[in-house]
């Protein structure tokens, strides 16, 4: 068990005094207690035992189903390889520690194959059943199948790979024999419009469908229309590379499918045909049949699909602009926004969530999108009064921008919706580096101060009805919607008046046909009328915001 901090011991004392928590712990329903100082989980003994047992169980299953278990470091060098069957072959030998997979003497992989594999592991992809061939010390051919998955540490940094290996020299024919008969499959291929051929393991065309045979070879697409018995891979290799098609890339992908390293290879390329420039999609999949058939190749014309993709791409670009719904973020120059966006995390704020309590340290700052956050001042624990309202025009946690790390007010989510948040430390760092962010936030804190002072004066001098109209108009501006859901109790808290005061004011506004009100659902019927019914404070603050934004 990890050493517990004094804060943790304190917490234990508190938990044992809380009846519900104590009951849950005593009845064995709790797995772990978190150390409030570090966040480390301290597992209770029963959970520790159960997890150790389940790990042992998983470990023994892995041992049963594989011959070796290996690990790589982050440079892809073997750090360990353990297994029950240590034989003197290229794999499973202790001498592989410190070497990379592609340094070992496997003879079925070309440089292109290794390049593809290296590229996959550099992108931290999981790979399954990579088949490798080598010879043991006696000169006999051995086949191995490797599977691996990337390993990351707690912070998400790449640590290396771990995986298993099996020797499959004796298994390969048996696995092949269990596949279904191919007669029906070959017949069905003729009915398809796409050009399809079947290759054997050396890349020779052993079957082609009607569309393939009908395809005029003059159209200049490498290999299509090739007669049975010719080597498709050789044609691809010889085609070389030009600006629209790379024959060796096609060949490399198909070889991987033949070798069982990929279940699917797709490659899109262009062709100049008598009817204009066309695009084709090549798809290669392993062939599930008996006999020599190894891979199915299909070519489909992708010109129309490409056009559709292009228009989708434009839609996508348009859509990508929308998430920057927060105006502080939207006002940043693109370069600085890009730096900032690494530290931004989208969150969904729910009505009633408390983002800060007065005096609490600020852990995150929030940039509301379509959510709405109220700043509340609390008097004598039970009375609250709203002093500020923050929507997409601002940021919650402005104290941090002014160098104070705790919030003087409660921040309460008043409108459910999306926001971006940033961790406090990161925010302070970004603020130092970004003059635009500084400018936007200083400007915004000025506006917020104006809002505070105006609200203070308003609460003292204006009637409930005018204040309610002001507050509804402000809410409307920030959520950009004429309908929202608020209860009398909630509005009474916001405006610091008794519930009955809200009921009377809301009834008056309803009688004047400015709003409709039904079980907490508020609909603004006459926006201009409501603005006019609001006290002058609404326009003072709105003009300030509008003026400074320009």
């Amino acid at each position: 068990m990890q050493a517990a901090s004094p804060a943790f011991q304190d917490l234990l004392r508190r938990l044992l005094n809380a009846p519900l928590e104590r009951q849950a712990i005593e009845s064995g329903q709790v797995d772990a207690i978190l150390d409030p100082a570090t966040g480390a989980s301290i597992l209770l003994p029963a959970a520790q035992d159960a997890m150790r047992e389940s790990q042992l169980h998983a470990h023994s299953l892995v041992k049963l189903s594989s011959d070796w278990q290996w690990e790589h470091d982050k440079d892809f060098r073997f750090t360990s390889c353990e297994g029950s069957r240590i034989v003197s072959s290229a794999f499973g030998d202790k001498t592989i520690v410190g070497k990379r997979l592609w340094d070992l003497p496997f003879d079925n992989m070309t440089e292109v194959d290794w390049q593809a594999h290296r590229s996959a592991v550099q992108h931290h992809a999981v790979y399954r059943n990579l088949e490798l061939r080598s010879r043991d010390h006696a000169g006999a051919v051995c086949f191995f199948s490797l599977s691996g998955e990337p390993v990351f540490d707690k912070r998400g940094r790449f640590k290396g790979y771990r995986g298993t290996a099996r020797e499959i020299s004796n298994l390969t024919p048996a696995e092949g024999a269990s596949q279904p008969s191919s007669g029906i499959l070959l017949g069905a291929l003729d009915a398809l419009l796409a050009q399809i051929c079947v290759l054997d393991s050396s890349g020779t065309v052993i079957y082609s469908n009607a569309a393939w045979r009908a395809f005029a070879a003059t159209r200049g697409c490498p290999g299509i229309g090739l007669a049975e018995g010719a080597s498709y891979l050789a044609v691809c290799d010889n085609a070389g590379a030009d600006d629209c098609v790379n024959g060796s890339a096609m060949a490399a992908g198909i070889r991987q499918v033949i070798a069982g390293q990929r279940r699917l290879f797709r490659y899109e390329y262009g062709c100049n045909t008598p009817t204009g420039r066309c695009r084709f999609m090549l798809t290669a999949r392993p062939f599930a049949g008996d006999g020599p058939a190894s891979v199915v190749i299909s070519h489909e014309e992708a010109t129309m699909r490409e056009r559709a993709d292009q228009s989708l791409h434009i839609d996508d670009l348009v859509a990508k602009r929308v998430p920057i719904a927060n105006r502080v973020l939207a006002a940043m120059p693109l370069e600085e926004y890009r730096c900032l966006s690494d530290g931004l995390e989208p969150v969904f704020l729910n009505f009633g969530d408390v983002l800060y309590e007065p005096g609490d340290p600020i852990r995150y700052v929030y940039f509301p999108g379509d959510s709405l956050v109220s700043l509340l001042t609390q008097v004598e624990e039970r009375m609250t009064l709203e002093v500020g309202l923050i929507g997409s025009e601002g940021m919650v946690g402005i104290s941090l921008a002014l160098g104070v790390s705790s919030s003087p007010m409660r921040a309460l989510v008043q409108g459910t919706g999306a926001a971006m948040r940033m961790e406090a430390g990161r925010f302070q760092l970004e603020l130092k580096q970004s003059p635009s962010l500084q400018r936007e936030l200083y400007r915004y804190s000025h506006l917020l101060m104006a809002q505070f002072t105006q609200t203070a004066a308003c609460n003292r001098f204006h009637g409930v009805e005018a204040r309610l109209a002001r507050w509804l108009s402000m809410t409307r501006d920030r959520v950009s919607s004429d309908r929202f859901h608020l209860t009398h109790d909630f509005m009474a808290d916001m405006l610091g008046v008794r519930r009955v005061g809200i009921t009377n004011a809301a009834t008056t506004l309803r009688e004047r046909r400015l709003i409709e009100y039904n079980r907490g659902d508020i609909t603004i019927l006459d926006r201009k009328g409501l603005n006019a019914a609001a006290c002058v404070c609404y326009r003072v603050v709105k003009n300030l915001f509008d003026g400074l934004r320009r």
């Binding site: 938990l15 709790v30 009505f351 009633g352 852990r363």
Partner: protein, 108 residues
């Protein structure tokens, strides 16, 4: 536990029908696994599609659990509709889970 009980007396949420919950667990520890199974059964029976459940593994996201004021696992926090509530344990006591989620068992 700042989120556990807010003093705001609002009784209805912005989105009225959807129950938003977060379940904090410790990897595949036995009570955590049981809590997921128990909660899924309750949601299927009483809430159908009207819920959002996020499962937070404190092994992977300890900072988040602390930020949310979570001190033991498994813990279930109901974030919406208000009042927010939380419940500790493997959620095998169905009646107390229903109470915390504000579901009237007879209604549905």
């Amino acid at each position: 536990m700042q989120r556990k009980r807010t003093k705001v007396r609002a009784s209805s949420p912005g989105v009225e029908t959807v129950v938003v919950m977060r379940l904090y667990i410790s990897g595949n520890a036995p009570n955590s696994m049981r809590a997921i199974a128990n909660l899924e059964a309750i949601c299927q029976e009483y809430l159908k599609d009207a819920y959002k459940l996020e499962v937070v593994d404190v092994f992977e996201q300890p900072a988040r659990a602390l930020a949310d004021g979570i001190l033991v696992t498994p813990s279930l926090a109901k974030m919406a509709p208000t009042p927010v509530a939380s419940i500790v344990g493997n959620l095998s006591d169905r009646s107390s889970v229903l109470l915390a989620l504000g579901i009237d068992g007879k209604d549905r």
